[in-house]
Subunit: 692 residues, 2 copies
């Protein structure tokens, strides 16, 4: 930013300095309530808990013309899919009760964010918009960064339910419904067999009851070996008649308790989890057996494609290798759940080549809302741009325009069921997600699940308005005389939209991936490769740096992973000249002295990318500090403090990565790059997250 | 630096990248030896150990015309003071043996640094140029950062002497002699009584013998309570006849062992040390009694003026208050040893008002070579500029031009003895001072003690040439084709000359002082003030920040310390408009919104100073990295690693200080200042040196 502009903004904001002092505890997220104005709500439809909820939300949140009359109408309409709705002035119409509820939330959102409420027709991109909670019955959350599970307390007490639980689950369901999420797998995919025991099923039923008035269904991630470990059988072979009976009986038991139970999510034969291959059966054998058990009740099986063997030369190829041979063999209530990228929720990956390739099988994207690999709850990273990048990636599988979004939402291939999954970042922290801006990722997942053509700019705009614009009298008074749009919305939105690219820059630019310290997937660890560790769990497997260059040769002279992509991608990714630089080191092993489009050597470009990332985060700090007059003290300081950690740790990433790769390149760090402030040996000697 | 210039330099140096690979272990410091050329040395004088040493050094280091004949002549000359010398071509003349030795070193230095050897006349500014070692008999050094003592091993084994000791002491003496240092107090001023016991005196004698051939004398810092604690008397009252006898006997015992023993350095009634005031006697009583005991043997007493009482409103005033009443009452072999500033070796202080004020008493400056308060061995801080600033400060006590240098070196006041002291930064580390650039401070102290009109630029120039220019065939080969002057000397010299101001900037700009974490005088601690701690040992005593402003009001409306300075300084320091900004907060309590000469508010200026300091250190890192092709691997990496710590910890200083003072100012940090990367609460919760 130019100094003169800085000075101007400084003068502008100095006048208002001193944090806005009105209170915000952060719990309400994007459903913040001003003093409600009177409104009359007329419901045309059979009385139901969902319609009651719709009416109540409208009444409690109404900020429009006082004493307006709003009509909520349930009525069949060919232009509406399940859950879809229309808004025309003061009338919301939907084909089902949940559609009315979504219409109510959309109307409120449109009014709060200044969008039109005329001639709105809105249908969801996916039928099932599902959160995946990696919550264990101990109450711990695998890679959870916002406290303990809101569902499970600890193994001994996990099945009890108290008033606090019910209140929290209700708000959880409201928040989800307000952004279109209609399902949740409420236990970890690394699953415990006890989840299928009677006391746990009773707890499932209680949770299902709490979220049902907001249109949400509950799903379970059962352990594939449950027939043995929960049922006492000798095998979990999916073709064994006793095993089949076990699952049929369990389905019956579940649906007796939870008539609208959504189905199963299965992680099988992946990272040590049991699965059909333990019995020389296939993914098809396993998935179809479970699908048959659920089918009578309308349940589905979401079967994860996240599989890879320890000694394969290219982990990125394995999902295609394992699943493509089965295309067309899965039941129609099986959906293959595929992570956005072929490796594992990295800061940047090309899309998984399974998308679009499986033409006779339902496929659903799995995104990770929790920032396991993107700074966890310490870094401000708005993931919407990453997901947008994936959803809009063209697979070319049915010609140009066969985007990942279109090949999964039913518009390219017929699918009986369509779905999208997001691994939740929610915990018991009073503001749900620890980092206030992490809530934007939950929000964005819901919004993209509803409409996979939305832009991240629009989502950020909405979220910021709903989350930070003043709603209470106190809040509005604190903003008097300030230009919220120019002083807050514009710069903070830009920060959000830049934030994921910044993370890519300081963590793993130019197509690098999985360069984490093994300790916690947080800090840098390109050097991490202790003896007797699986190669594919160590960063050198992915960066392949040597004296000549760096990067994973996945062209036809390497692992030929490029051949899993449809033309013209296959040729493009294979070509050193044509591969997009953001994927360069994903697909190619490139000499340090290779001349980049910028005219710099690869080495210089790499260093400058890391440095740019650090500088971007420092600029985020400035943006946020300048936003202080527009934000309540508690949320301002929470974000400010996290941005400090963010900036510091971005520097650790930059320093560790540059110094380590320099041991291969032997080239000087370009002098316009800020110098490292720690020795490589020090960074290597500690868990990077312990650097403070 | 302009990007285009950076690019040019980059291209220039990239060619040479890869560290120079010739070996330098760092031990030789500025006495590095190339392959000697043959030389004939003719000595005109009575054979002596010193003349032998002079001849040997010349022979071993000769790099001039092969087979030249150099004449070393001892001859009385009215233009020469003791230790002074003349160089005319190949003839070195001096009035004493030591003068010849100094002439030899000067000739070698001039030849190595490209200075003329014609018509050189050089006399020392001070007669006694003395290192003060704060070495305890345990082997530990108080605020020592370069390993254990070179003199004392541990209490049990402290008095033994081995071959390694003798070799180390010889090199220690050579290094000192080469820069004119001719004395050393080899135990800590916080003194142990055992130093006066027979075994320790024997050890003193051994050390004196080892350094004698290089013109050095040994001094002792005895404990003032030695008559009781070593001698078994009931008192140490300086007027007690038994006490007087004790010291007379000790003097006799010492001089029998060490005929050229230099004398005593006394820290009395200071920070808990015993002294004459314990017996209601005065500094005069104590100092004169000891002076009388030493007088028959030519010994002197250096009596420290570093005194301050716990509850005084202004510690800075106390030396003048305690000592001025005694002006004229001290024996002529007593010298009052005065720290450069009135508080305590801070990054910046105005000169002590005792300088020049005591007109009938010998006064000597005490500098601290060890960087107790200036980043210790972690920060690159060239102290010469600080000492030059002090020595050239005008006291106005005898009219304009009465600089601190002139009022202490005998040119303004008649003094029988003149002296200068430097607290040593030497330890057993293989390179003597841990940080390679800390050796420059030892060097600078010696050079300024010899000539207090030298400029820091000249000293840095000499030191860099002697320390880093190639001398061996291997080293010269490594430099082939490189422009050492442009690529190394010029930028590194500038870095040295900027380094102390950088430290002031990131530690305590604008006259702030003593803002250290109490733990170790290393990191920031402006907030440090635990209950029951002496106020004058806590930073708030010195910064006095409040909602209105910051700074210590030492004007007539405050403690009136300004009145201790001679006009026009008194009026200048008292005037908010006229006080130099570098001393602003030393003398004034200033409103946060006060408009500085830059046009900025005091608050903004303060923040920008801290930030500037951090940026300066980052630039030092660039300078050093660019110098890589000119430096051997070991020293390059040592300095590079320390500069990383330096940059990191400068940031801790900036962040902690700004965030703490912001709790008073309540003003925003200017947006051009890089944001903090840690919360104040975190920095406050740990010892800052533990931040890594």
């Amino acid at each position: 930013m130019k100094t003169s502009l800085l000075k101007f903004i400084f003068i502008l904001t100095a006048v208002f300095y001193s944090a806005a002092t009105y209170a915000e505890n952060g719990y309400d997220l994007w459903l913040r309530k001003g003093p409600a104005k009177p409104v009359k709500v007329v419901v045309s439809g059979k009385k139901s808990a969902i319609l009651d909820a719709a009416k109540q939300e409208l009444t409690e949140f109404w900020q429009g013309t006082p004493n307006a009359t709003i009509q909520l109408v349930v009525k069949a309409d060919k232009s509406l899919k399940t859950d879809g709705f229309k808004i025309n002035g003061n009338v919301i119409t939907a084909g089902n009760d949940a559609g009315v509820l979504y219409g109510v939330y959309d109307m409120l959102r449109r009014m709060a964010s200044g969008q039109s409420t005329d001639n709105v027709l809105s249908n969801p991109s996916y039928q099932r918009r599902v959160l995946n909670h990696w919550d264990n019955p101990t109450g711990n959350i695998e890679h959870g960064f916002a406290g303990k599970s809101i569902f499970w307390r600890n193994e001994k007490d996990s099945v009890t339910v108290n008033a606090g639980d019910l209140s929290r689950w209700k708000d959880y369901a409201r928040l989800n419904a307000s952004i279109g999420i209609n399902g949740a797998v409420i236990n970890n995919v690394n699953a415990q067999p006890m989840m299928l025991s009677a006391p746990y099923l009773k707890k499932y039923a209680a949770i299902a009851a709490a979220v049902r008035p907001y249109g949400m269904k509950i799903y379970m991630a059962p352990n594939f070996a449950s027939p043995i470990r929960q049922g006492g059988l000798k095998t979990a072979d999916p073709l064994d008649p006793e095993v089949i009976k076990y699952w049929q009986a369990k389905a019956k038991e579940i649906y007796a308790l939870i008539p609208d139970f959504g189905g199963f999510l299965i992680k099988a034969n992946s990272e040590g989890q049991p699965g059909p291959q333990d019995y020389k059966r296939t993914h098809v054998d396993g998935a179809n057996m479970l699908a048959d058990a659920l089918k009578p009740y309308g349940g589905i099986v979401m079967w994860r494609a996240f599989v890879y063997a320890p000694n394969d030369p290219d982990r990125a190829k394995q999902a295609v290798q394992e699943f493509m041979p089965f295309d067309g063999q899965f039941r129609d209530n099986v959906i293959i759940q595929v992570k956005n990228g072929p490796v594992d929720f990295q800061p940047r990956e090309p899309f998984s080549p399974l998308f679009g390739a499986m033409k006779k099988t339902s496929v659903m994207p799995e995104f990770q809302i929790m920032q396991e690999y993107l700074g966890q709850a310490k870094h401000l990273v708005f993931l919407s741009t990453m997901w947008e990048e994936c959803l809009k990636s063209d697979t070319y599988q049915m010609g140009a325009g066969s985007t990942v979004g279109k090949v999964t939402d039913g518009s390219v291939y017929p699918q009986k069921y369509t779905a999208i999954a997001g691994v939740s970042n929610i915990g018991l922290d009073s503001n749900w997600t620890a980092h206030p801006f992490a809530a934007a990722n939950w929000y964005a997942f819901g919004r993209l699940g509803w409409d996979n053509t939305l832009t991240s700019a629009q989502i950020a705009d909405e979220w910021l308005k709903l989350t930070f614009a003043p709603v209470t009298d106190e809040g509005k008074a604190a903003m008097a005389g300030k230009n919220w749009d120019a002083g807050f919305l514009a710069p903070v939105k830009k920060m959000m939209l830049d934030s994921r690219e910044a993370a890519v820059n300081y963590m793993m630019p130019l197509g690098l991936h999985h360069q984490f310290s093994a300790y916690d997937h947080y800090g840098p660890g390109s050097w991490y490769a202790p003896a007797r560790t699986r190669a594919d769990w160590t960063p050198p497997y992915y960066h392949k740096a040597d004296k000549q260059g760096i990067g994973f040769n996945r062209t036809e002279t390497g692992t030929d992973a490029v051949s899993q992509y449809h033309e013209p991608l296959s040729s493009t990714f294979s070509s050193l000249e044509n591969v997009p630089e953001m994927y360069l080191l994903w697909f190619q092993h490139v000499p340090w002295t290779y001349k980049m489009k910028s005219g710099r050597t690869l080495w210089d470009e790499l260093c400058i990318k890391y440095d740019t990332g650090v500088k971007q985060v420092r600029q985020f700090q400035v943006v946020w500090d300048m936003a202080q007059p527009f934000v309540d003290k508690e949320r301002f300081e929470n974000v400010q403090s996290r941005l400090r950690i963010h900036a510091r740790d971005a520097q650790v990433w930059k320093d560790g990565s540059i110094l380590y790769f320099q041991t291969f390149s032997g080239m000087p760090i370009p002098y316009e790059v800020e110098r490292p402030v720690r020795d490589l040996s020090y960074i290597q000697s500690v868990a990077p997250a312990s650097i403070k």
